[in-house]
Amino acid sequence: MSHPRRELDQVIHSPVRFSIVATLLPLEQAEFGYVRDTVELSDSSLSQHVTTLERAGYLKVDKARAGRRARTWLSLTPEGRRAFRRHMEVLNRIAAAGADGAAAAGGDAAPG
């Protein structure tokens, strides 16, 4: 049986992308600048991560004009939401397995 860590989604497993996806999770869409400020990234760094997430099919980018202002909106795709949920399930399984292992080790070490 393979270890659950092999099921981790490598696109989401990066701390920055994990934060970006977590920020977008309760939202229908968020402005690029909002995500940049919330996750505390530079424009270029966020752009790179957005491209990676977009290529994976996890994120959608929409550009809209509001008067003279161009606004870039980011939103998670249904696949992105599913991937995040799956990722969290795997993390929880790993954490639970770790806790069980620690409990078993503690039980073994306990004096009979």
């Binding site: 701390p15 977590a22 920020t23 999770l25 968020a30 402005e31 996750v39």
Partner: protein
Amino acid sequence: MAEEARPLSPGDVARAERLRARAAADGRWYVWYLAAVAVLSAALVVAVEAFFADGFARHLALAGWLLATLPVTWWAERRRVRPRGATRSLTVAAAVWFLGYLLLVGPLVRWQFDTSPAAWSLAAAGMSLPFAAAAALMWRRTR
């Protein structure tokens, strides 16, 4: 780059949860937007059905109502986030309001109570319930 290569730590998961909660809180403005739409929709019905039911006054009331909606629309347009389900909740609530007004409540109240302000106020309050329900739903979602 080091940040990119580093795997997730429990601290990262805790930070992500804080970011998620913050984003949810930042989307709460939509609850107040839906509440404003509920009030404005009720005001429109009472104005054009009870107080300015006939002639040119009706058009003026409608124009006044459209002017009153402008600041609300402008305020909503300036928000940087939209909570999940925002478009769907507003669309469903507006469809229920419109169909209720057009097919059921509007004709019934007009037939039974003509231009009675009390009857139209009650009817308008009832018809704005879909917006209130949508606001309550969004409140729960953004907690």
